[in-house]
């Protein structure tokens, strides 16, 4: 019996890791996997070779090589007979990599936002495929906030996203599996603060910046800042590769360009040489450079010159 259980656990681990590893080939896709009722522990960790991730099924052995280069954002533990997976391409502003978001139907996502932000948030949830993950949108400024009256619906864990409203503790949600994210900004950029619980004394992380809707989606799914940072560290190399590709390509596409376009290409080359390579440590200056690169790309298109990316 034990050897059968071990074999089934190993097979399930292999199947889940293979599905996750293959998912970046299909960006913008939402999938549901039916599995044997199991406990999945998803972790991002460092080893001698760098950063890697693994999926551990029912406290069994795990392999940390399959997901070494795949950024997987998820709660630390998912239990049940279904896995929900969504993939999104992250661009900043050029396409860099595909992010994988993992969860299930027993995790509830609760968005708390002021009334004036509700339609923009709903649009974001719709566009980013987040609508397929069980969620509620509560209004924070209707007399007494709807969040104050929100009751435990019996889910395994709750992830509360305070979107342009204050972090507000709720005494009904003290389980350590519940976490919160404070988002200040719009769906394209702003700042993030992770909370390790929903009680009054919950610890909060340092504030970090995000750029792009896909990065915000990834933060919504991350267990905490450590998990988010760990997976973003995998992306730093992809970002560097994308930049090198554009730098190597630039002389070819700019040769023979008119003087106006050459000016744009020179600026673009300067920006590419100067971009901060750690996506988890973006500053306002970094975002300014990315915006400038986006503007240059549009100007080149207007002038009928090959674009930088």
């Amino acid at each position: 019996m034990n050897s059968d259980d071990d074999a089934q656990r190993r097979k399930l681990t292999f199947d889940v890791e293979t599905a996750i590893a293959a998912s970046p080939s299909n960006p913008g896709v939402f999938s549901i996997f039916s599995v044997r009722p199991s406990r999945f522990e998803i972790a991002c960790t460092e080893d001698v070779l760098g950063v890697t991730s693994y999926v551990r099924v029912n406290n069994g052995q795990y392999d940390d090589s399959t997901l070494r280069y795949v950024p997987v954002f998820s709660p630390r533990v998912i239990e049940g007979d279904e896995l929900f997976m969504s993939t999104r391409k992250w661009s900043a502003p050029f396409a860099i990599t595909t992010l994988v978001m993992l969860s299930n139907n027993r995790t509830r996502y609760v968005y708390v936002t002021p009334e004036r932000q509700r339609s923009g948030l709903s649009e974001f949830i719709e566009d980013e495929n987040l609508k397929s993950f069980g969620h509620d949108i509560l209004i924070s400024d209707q007399g007494s906030s709807q969040w104050d009256d929100y009751e435990d619906l019996g889910f395994d864990q709750y992830r509360v996203i305070f979107f342009n409203t204050q972090f507000t503790p709720n005494p009904d949600f003290f389980e350590e599996t519940n976490t919160a994210l404070l988002v200040e900004g719009n769906t394209e950029r702003g700042t993030l603060t992770f909370y390790n619980g929903l009680g009054a004394g919950s610890a909060q992380s340092r504030q970090i910046k995000y750029y792009g809707e896909a990065m915000l989606s990834a933060a919504i799914f991350s267990q905490d800042l450590k998990h988010f940072d760990c997976n973003m560290a995998k992306i730093a190399d992809r970002w560097q590769t994308s930049i090198k590709i554009l730098q190597d390509r630039l002389p070819t596409i700019s040769s023979g360009a008119n003087a106006r376009c050459m000016g744009h290409y020179t600026q673009a080359q300067t920006i590419l040489n100067d971009i901060n390579l750690d996506p988890a440590m973006l500053s306002d200056a970094d975002m300014g450079k990315l915006d400038r690169l986006q503007t240059i790309n549009r100007l080149l298109l207007t002038n009928a010159c090959p674009q930088v990316y």
Binding site: S25, P27, Y69, R249, L301
Partner: protein, 165 residues
């Protein structure tokens, strides 16, 4: 005497039955082996197509936003090819994606549409020794940013696995 004849007949019947059983087993084995070979070949084709799809989905070589669709950029692909050859860390990452394979992308000649584009060997890591080779071809569109032309190209994917006996 009569008993001996009957015994002989019995032996003959047994021999014929055994002979028929052996023929049946050999036939069954050959059919099964043929089905297994077909299944392996089919899976190799799928694996090659999956690998090709993985290449086409690489964000770092996708066409600019104005082109859209399933399209790869010729000069980005050429630049990536150079980086894979010159940078060990980058080669290691793409080795984890592509395994033992050779991936070439060849724009089709279209003389009326401008200068010819050379074939790109995006990745080349063959397996040495006794290997089985499977080859698939996929078609894609490739964008020449310099001449602002979109062409048809084919991707030649050669996969290497340890030879089966």
């Amino acid at each position: 005497m009569k008993g001996q004849i009957e015994f002989g007949e019995t032996i003959m019947v047994v021999i014929v039955i055994v002979f028929l059983l052996v023929i049946g087993l050999v036939f069954y084995y050959n059919v099964s082996a043929s089905q297994i070979r077909q299944e392996i070949s089919h899976r190799e084709d799928i694996d090659g197509i999956v690998l090709g799809k993985r290449v086409l989905a690489l964000p770092e070589i996708e066409c600019s936003v104005t082109e859209g669709g399933s399209c790869i950029d010729y000069y980005k692909t050429s630049a990536l090819s150079g980086l894979i050859q010159s940078d060990d860390a980058i080669e290691s990452y793409y080795g984890s994606l592509f395994g033992y394979s050779t991936i070439k992308i060849a724009p089709l000649d279209e003389d009326e549409l401008g200068e010819e584009l050379e074939e790109i060997t995006l990745y080349d890591d063959p397996l040495m020794g006794e290997v089985s080779i499977s080859q698939q071809f996929l078609f894609t569109t490739i964008y020449d940013a310099k001449q602002k032309l979109t062409r048809i190209a084919y991707m030649n994917i050669t996969r290497y696995t340890v030879a089966r006996e």
